[in-house]
């Protein structure tokens, strides 16, 4: 039996990325980090990658899609595409947390990793991971992905962790100055090219999920918005001061 060929997809932020992972080998990855709609870019990019790699679509063994958090519209394009590809090809598919995939970009053993995406309404999407110190250097989740105020994230990091924290992700563009002020000496920023969401890392996370659930159906590939629709939130607030 050949090693599983996994297609990774990420359209949750500005970048549009596809990758092919076979076992531990990254066969191909194509990433566009330009202002162009994912709807127009994603399928041509995937087709191009398969053609350049000499791989037929029917050879794909599974799909891993970045399911959020991120732009609602963006993540839906990736998830819808992954669901329909899996449906049409009859292969398994799994959702991967965008923040977890981003954390995979920081390889240093023992590192505390804090991915950051701008969530608007003065909040960020964030989480905290620790990279294992020994083989297989797996990521341990210390803080589950959530939408939270930057100040609350800072307080938590200050109070509960002493070691250096590596920040990564598009959120650094807007908040790096605030991070430096709030966590002097503790915060480190991943260099800019490593902040982009990459499908290779989504496929890598997907690989371990698929090991646990080899037959995962595309029906279970669902978005992880981390937030309710605005209209629903406002309606709930009107009804009884319920805050999300």
């Amino acid at each position: 039996m050949r090693t599983l060929l996994i297609l990774g997809i990420d359209t949750t932020t500005l970048s549009c990325s596809v990758a092919l992972l076979r076992g531990d080998t990254l066969l191909a990855e194509m990433t566009l980090n330009i202002k162009k709609t994912h709807s127009e870019r994603l399928m041509p990019l995937l087709d191009r990658m398969l053609t350049e790699s000499g791989i037929e679509r029917e050879e794909l063994g599974a799909i891993a899609a970045s399911a959020g958090p991120g732009s609602f519209t963006g993540l839906r394009i990736g998830v819808s595409t992954a669901r329909a590809l899996a449906q049409g090809l009859g292969i398994p598919a799994v959702p991967v947390c965008t923040l977890g995939a981003m954390a995979e970009a920081v390889p240093a053993p023992g590192a505390l990793i804090c991915p950051l995406l701008d969530a608007r309404r003065s909040e960020v999407y964030s989480a905290l991971f620790r990279r294992g110190k020994k083989e297989p250097y797996a990521l341990e989740t210390l803080l589950e992905p959530a939408a939270l105020a930057l100040e609350d994230l800072f307080a938590l990091l200050r109070e509960q962790y002493t070691g250096p924290v590596t920040f990564i992700g598009e959120g650094l563009q807007s908040y790096s100055a605030q991070i430096e002020t709030a966590l002097p000496g503790q915060a480190m920023a991943a260099s800019a090219p490593f902040r982009v969401c990459r499908a290779a890392l989504v496929a890598l996370r997907g690989k371990s999920l698929l090991r646990e659930k080899p037959g995962a159906s595309y029906l279970e590939l669902l978005p992880g918005y981390l937030r309710r629709p605005e209209a629903e939130r406002l309606a709930a607030e009107r009804q009884g001061g319920l805050k999300q």
């Binding site: 399928m43 087709d47 819808s80 329909a84 029906l219």
Partner: protein, 344 residues
């Protein structure tokens, strides 16, 4: 030997109906499934785009599976996949477009992009009606109010459209103000039967020469709100059936008279009604009466209720002529929320 039928899978997600259908040769419905989100949006009094988009994503793939199963076919038996790519809500359209592209790619099938508005026309054809041309088509729903002219060759020209609210939108907004519920169309239609349509003389926007086939319903909506406000301030008892009946009468009269004028001016052989508001019983009756009285040679067609509202069978039917002349879409197809008539 009889030629095998052309089987097209249609996908529709432009507003709040998730739909999938399989149609043979653009005419014969093998399956036609619609999963309505009406109840989800009811508490907001209108369609919430973000909620619609989320729901389409959840519902669409299993609905496609069901539509194929009900038609007794598999993906590989199809000749093409068709999707409406506009007009509509952009986030909602994107779910259908992304799904159709990926499914067509996976199954190595051609992709056909369909204009949702033009597809409404094909609902009549699905009913087996033989239509004589030129035909004038009134499309009225929660999203659109348009008058179209279709000639023998199938070419479609827009004659006019609403300048503000769509007809169905006016029904919904008035129903919300009167606290009747959502969607407003069927509720008002029912209540209006008990009322006097001549009780209140609401304004009709004829728009004169600069828009003989255009519509405007926001003034009418405002007039209803003002009437209600003043009646309440004076402490008057409001006769709801009279109020909604008079509102409906004003709206329907404009739709009917403008359609008749277009049919007369352009020497149409047929008048077609489509869209959700085409289900309105007063509109159907009025149109029939007025045509009989002033243009007796013109035939009226309106589809069955199920084909009036948004569905995917009409998308698959509209894709058939495009399929025949190989008018296929490429992988960079995008949603076009403002897509107009007569454009590719």
């Amino acid at each position: 030997m009889k030629e095998a039928p052309v089987l097209i899978l249609g996908i529709e997600t432009s507003c709040d109906e998730t739909a999938a259908a399989v149609v043979a040769d653009g005419r014969r419905i093998l399956s036609n499934l619609v999963s309505s989100q009406v109840e989800l949006h009811a508490r907001y009094g209108g369609v919430v785009p973000e909620i619609a988009s989320r729901q389409h994503l959840l519902l669409l793939n299993p609905l496609i599976d069901d539509a194929l199963k009900e038609a007794g076919v598999q993906l590989k038996d199809l000749q093409a996949i068709a999707v409406s790519h506009g007009p509509g809500l952009v986030g909602a359209l994107l779910i259908g477009v992304a799904t159709a592209k990926a499914l067509a790619y996976a199954a190595r099938l051609p992709l056909v992009a369909v204009n949702h508005l033009e597809a409404h026309l094909y609902a009549n054809q699905l009913e087996g009606a033989v239509i004589s041309y030129p035909a004038v088509n009134l499309i009225v729903s929660g999203g659109h109010s348009e008058l179209l002219l279709i000639d023998e060759s199938g070419a479609i020209k827009s004659l006019g459209r609403t300048r503000d609210d769509a007809a169905g939108e006016a029904f919904d907004k008035v129903a919300r103000v009167l606290e009747l519920g959502y969607p407003g169309g069927p509720l008002i239609d029912k209540m209006a039967r008990e009322g006097n349509p001549a009780a209140i003389d609401f304004p009709r926007a004829w728009l004169g020469n600069d828009g003989p086939y255009d519509f405007s319903f926001s003034g009418l909506k405002t007039a209803v709100i003002n009437h209600l406000y003043h009646a309440r301030r004076r402490g008057e008892q409001i006769n709801m059936p009279d109020l909604v009946s008079s509102f409906q009468e004003a709206l329907v009269e404009v739709l009917v008279e403008k359609t008749i004028a277009a049919a007369r001016d352009l020497e149409a052989q047929t008048v077609l009604l489509s869209g959700g508001v085409a289900a309105n019983s007063h509109l159907r009756r009025r149109m029939q009466e007025r045509l009989r009285a002033s243009l007796p040679a013109v035939t009226l067609h309106y589809p069955d209720l199920k084909l009036c509202t948004d569905n995917a069978a009409m998308i698959a039917a509209a894709a058939y002529p495009l399929y025949q002349r190989k008018g296929f879409a490429s992988l960079d197809l995008n949603a076009d929320p403002g897509l107009g008539i007569g454009r590719p």
